[in-house]
Symmetry: C2
Subunit: 191 residues, 2 copies
Amino acid sequence: MDIKMNTRLFAFIGGDVGPWCVTETITLTGDLLLPEVTRVDVIAGSNLQPEYPAEGWVLRGVTSNERYVIREEKTALVAKQQGLGRPAATSAALILIRKNADWWALTQDERRHVIEEQSKHIHIGLQYLPAIARRLHHCRDLSENEPFDFLTWFEFSPAHKADFNNLLAELRASEEWKYVDREIDIRLMRE
Amino acid sequence: MDIKMNTRLFAFIGGDVGPWCVTETITLTGDLLLPEVTRVDVIAGSNLQPEYPAEGWVLRGVTSNERYVIREEKTALVAKQQGLGRPAATSAALILIRKNADWWALTQDERRHVIEEQSKHIHIGLQYLPAIARRLHHCRDLSENEPFDFLTWFEFSPAHKADFNNLLAELRASEEWKYVDREIDIRLMRE
């Protein structure tokens, strides 16, 4: 098997090492409790076998092809978005989401209808670009028993914290979020 | 983590054990050579760690939510399709597919357009139900370096072999197949 140049698999390691200090962890939906940690490390590449912290957690996800965005939206997103790792973007959030069985039983057209026609998910996200940078990781098809379906990593300048909270508030009030049965919101600052 | 009742992860083990005897292996596209094997075993469940045959191969895939089918098509498929394991369905095929980078760079609407509006993939499949039973497994998001993107397992009565070959011929002549850069077709008979 040949080695791909671009990495798609990422691991988020909650423990006591890594550049990101946890400032707050809020369980919004569901009763899954993650062990409390002080730091998070983000590592890339499937060849890395992260050592499970003695008291902590490892969450894995893979970036994938886009499942809902149409060409017109993609063009608008690419024109406005910026990448991770900007020096001023010292605030981050890791939002862990699982959706319920009703969601996964929907057909493609029904899921797109909820996400965009009802919930304006893509449109809302676009309003917060380029301030909020984002990378979505899928977990559901990595194995059968992943605790979450999606891990989304956001980076922004501390000055945009209120904007980021507004973005989350808009999404959480949407029709799409009625299908969310597990959500944990972890806030971080880069040391 | 709770154990799910329904299994989504499957492994296909090419070696010298299992109920399915290989009758033919044809590499249609690409230069990947799988080691020649006489039998294939199909096992379910992520807890099973299949032992890699001394001379053979293991391919893994996960059933997932449907990515392209709309409700109207889903209703038609569910009304006509039958499950795997029918006593008369003693013929099988395992079709291994990888699609190229151009495919994965398309947006959702573009991929749907190629699959159905241009290629009639769903419509063609429907014409061969219930004779041909099928289960699609996704590999691409299991890890970063899976050799194929899709493993599709088909079962049918030997009397429907010509129908099955027609189904494949129709799909292989379609616009969608221009994006296939690796395809291996393995035919089997249940002992």
